[in-house]
């Protein structure tokens, strides 16, 4: 395969919301930008998201940077890095303003003075803060594609960013560029650049088919960073959405709903109809997904690995009709989906839905500072990260709508940071760069035409199955170690995988690249998960039930790979004052109790109470 050499100032890796934002901002600052994306631009998780974005103060005048900050930190069990959380709280409004200027259009409030918000605080927020958009994430992608059309920066699409090229000299380690496989031309491209922004999304495909992510989420950015010596934080914190489809096969894992969509009277039931959980709308995604996954693990699940979500109690009486209207307005696509797959009665929520947890979002990732610049041990100057691939912001819980805010807030910061860095830095001298890029290309060129009895796609399935079992929503130490055994076994077989010799869109080569990235990612998650011995945040440790969160809060796990192997260390975070944490907890408990009391009221009274509540929302 030929190696072409190119020179830019900044490389943006990824094609979703964070990448397009960073590329637009860097390009506006006048540096030469190349965007490298393995999927066509725009085709990331932003596109398929529900389209609700968190904007501070959008729903109540009493909101403030401080209130938002503490809400985020407390819900993230103080794992979130205070300086990132603060940047996030501060930029929340200006990021939305940026999107509005680029052409994003929300519906207006009845008074016409601002965007219409969701009628209630969404997943984990203590205030109304989410603004929905027509056609969900598509609104965002139409807007961000507009910025590409305007700026017309160069792109390489259908191009796999294989590795960073890092130069070590007397002044330290510096990013010199990256190596890219451009599938349509069948060439390797060694791109020299002073700065690289990784905006490659998450790792959902590690759990395929039990994920609602785009296929492209194969942990590429985490793996690229680890291979370049970078540390990852909070990698054990993976959010599983509780309500996803269990069938048909090609749609297993597809998103159906949040705990909030269970309404005040939704009940989770096992395969025999016995209740597992109530008051779900006041619980976190992790709590609900954990109960569901444990029931399945205990043999109380359906043949498809799910349980039943029974919403029928919500639609009874006069208030029930109002509830259904709210549901229709909030999740029309999901009701349509349920109607097609489970029947009309299910779409009217008169009969239960079969649901399962599904990998939704990875809170962990590349440790960055407030400008999106990589920091910590093994730091290479010039490396930036934005969006899901960055870590240290959400802590143990990513609240609803925060992901769409994150891609803009840190997309802007990383794009600006990278452009500034590139303007002030010298590119590596081209002779030295050629040597380094040839070195980096070596292992990839060796893989072409490899003979053997194994196939990357089959080994990938083996890994995915092991990951769902061992580092999924329910974990124990033995199961987590089992994942590391599996990755070792797969690695040993990589020398005997069958890889085509062709250069143009070599699918087995692409599969091998992604499999290697998934292996590194699985190991990062497993090693972090071993260090986190208690149930905290997004998953359940069944072997450590008693110590639930006792010692784990305000401590992040950092994992890193060096010559000896994986190392993990603990980062102590600032603790939120106790009285604030207790206050937050009390509020949650009161809400759950409230829902409990509502259930015991005589039906006619309950119907009147709920009618009043829903009327306000409508």
């Amino acid at each position: 395969m030929r190696i072409l050499e190119k020179h830019y100032d900044v490389i943006i890796v990824g094609g979703g919301g964070a990448a397009l934002t960073a590329a637009a901002v860097a390009s506006e600052m006048g540096v030469r930008v190349l965007l490298v994306s393995k999927d066509p631009i725009g085709c990331g998780d932003t596109k398929i998201s529900e389209g609700g974005i968190t904007v501070r103060g959008s729903g109540s005048v009493s909101d403030s940077v401080e209130k938002f900050f503490f809400n985020l930190r407390i819900r993230g069990r103080d794992l979130g890095d205070p300086k990132l959380v603060r940047s996030f709280s501060q930029d929340s409004r200006s990021a939305y303003e940026w999107l509005r200027e680029k052409g994003l259009r929300p519906y207006p409030r009845p008074d016409g003075k601002g965007p219409k918000t969701y009628p209630m605080p969404m997943g984990g927020h203590n205030r109304i803060r989410s603004i929905p958009h027509p056609k969900g994430g598509l609104s965002f992608i139409h807007t961000l594609l507009g910025t590409y059309q305007e700026r017309a920066y160069d792109t390489l699409q259908d191009a796999w960013f294989l590795d960073l090229i890092v130069n070590q000299d007397l002044q330290g380690r510096k990013v010199a560029g990256g190596l890219v496989y451009h599938a349509p031309r069948g060439v390797l491209v060694a791109v020299r650049a002073q700065a690289v922004v990784l905006a490659t999304g998450g790792l959902g495909t590690l759990y395929f088919p039990n994920t609602d992510n785009m296929r492209g989420n194969t942990g590429d950015g985490y793996a690229v960073a680890v291979r370049a010596g970078a540390g990852l934080v909070d990698m054990e914190q993976i959010q599983f959405i509780p309500f996803a489809l269990t069938r048909p096969r090609s749609m297993k894992g597809v998103f159906l709903g949040e705990p909030a969509s269970a309404g005040p009277f939704g009940v989770l039931r096992d395969k025999d109809g016995r209740p597992l959980l109530t008051a779900m709308m006041y619980r976190t995604r992790a709590e609900v997904a954990g109960v569901l996954a444990r029931a399945v693990a205990a043999g109380r699940g359906t043949a498809n690995g799910g349980c039943y979500l029974d919403l029928s109690e919500n639609v009874k009486g006069k208030s029930g009709r109002m509830y259904y209207r709210i549901l229709q307005a909030g999740m029309p696509r999901q009701l349509d989906l349920v109607g097609r797959l489970m029947g009309e009665a299910a779409a009217r929520v008169e009969v239960p839905w079969e649901v399962q947890p599904s990998a939704h979002y990875c809170m962990g990732g590349i440790a960055v500072d407030a400008s999106g610049k990589f920091e910590g041990e093994g730091a290479a100057e010039g490396l930036f990260a934005a969006g899901q691939v960055m870590g240290g912001l959400h802590g143990s819980d990513r609240l609803a709508g925060n992901s769409l805010a994150e891609i803009i807030i840190f997309g802007v910061r990383a794009g600006r940071g990278a452009a500034e860095h590139a303007s002030g830095a010298c590119p590596l001298e081209s002779g030295r760069f050629s040597v380094l890029s040839r070195e980096a290309a070596g292992p990839y060129l060796d893989a072409l035409g490899r003979e053997g009895e194994y196939h990357p796609v089959i080994l990938t399935r083996e890994l995915q199955e092991a990951a769902w079992k061992g580092i999924g929503p329910v974990r124990d130490a033995g199961g987590i170690r089992e994942v590391l055994v599996t990755t070792e076994n797969i690695r040993r077989r990589l020398s005997r995988v069958r890889i085509g010799a062709g250069t143009v869109w070599n699918q087995t080569f692409i599969d091998l690249v992604e499999l290697e990235n998934l292996l590194v990612t699985a190991e990062a998650v497993a090693n972090a998960a071993l260090s986190r011995k208690e149930s905290l945040g997004a998953h359940v440790r069944i072997d450590a039930e008693k110590g639930v969160g006792k010692n784990g809060a305000a401590r992040s796990v950092m994992v890193q790979r060096n010559d000896i192997g994986w190392q993990s260390s603990v980062l102590e975070r600032e603790r939120t004052p106790t009285w604030m944490r207790v206050g937050d907890r009390l509020q949650t408990v009161m809400r759950q109790r409230g829902a409990g009391i509502l259930r015991t009221l005589p039906f006619s009274l309950r119907d009147r109470v709920m009618s009043a509540v829903y009327r306000k929302m409508l």
Partner: protein, 253 residues
Amino acid sequence: MTDEIPEYIEIIILRQVGDKNACDQGTGQAHRFKYALQPGEQPTALDVLIRAREEAFHDLAFRYGCRNRKCGLCTLEINGKPRLACKTKVRDGDRLGPLQGLPVIRDLVVDRTGINGQLAGRIGGDHRRSSWEPLVPGGIFVSLSGCIACYACLKGCPLHEMNLGAFHRPRDFETPKETVVYAYGNPYTFLRLRRIVEDNERDQKTRDQALSTALSLGLETCRECLGCRCQMGIPLIREVIEPLLKDIEKLRT
């Protein structure tokens, strides 16, 4: 013992094999795949493709993303008709092939860069919103925002077909900025332009620029056709082509 006869359907997948230089417009070789059905199962084309790659053709190239008709990546042709693989059920004997009208890179993968880059550098300038303009629920702007960029509308578009055989290089760093990758438009590109014209927060200059771009991409020939179809049900003729044609008239007078 019960005699359980496994039930199969046989699907034909059109593949491009051998290491060619990209971008031949070919029909490919027919490869047959037997898909074992579970009781009562009606598989989608995507079910078949995912399984075919696991069981038979380990190097089969095809795109997919969300598995839930939202991302527009898995567009292909089923018996010659453009369809989303994740949405369309298949039957015994169905033929799956790449979307015609875009250069085939490998198997079912076509090059999309000529389309998603067609407007790059052609829409620009300063169009900051001047004031808050209400968005109408159910209005055209909202309807057009539902486009998932699956490109199924390209199939059979006579205007887009005029591009074929002309310039087929992927739009990337080796494509000179001043080159128009595809000289002629298509329903998707016109939808993107129409969305700008429909955006009442944009200034007049930008909206006029969108109209003149539509004109330069050959919109006027659409008058004779009006045959566009959208897989997602967006009324392309009523909401994109006809209003654009009308606005162009206004622009002239």
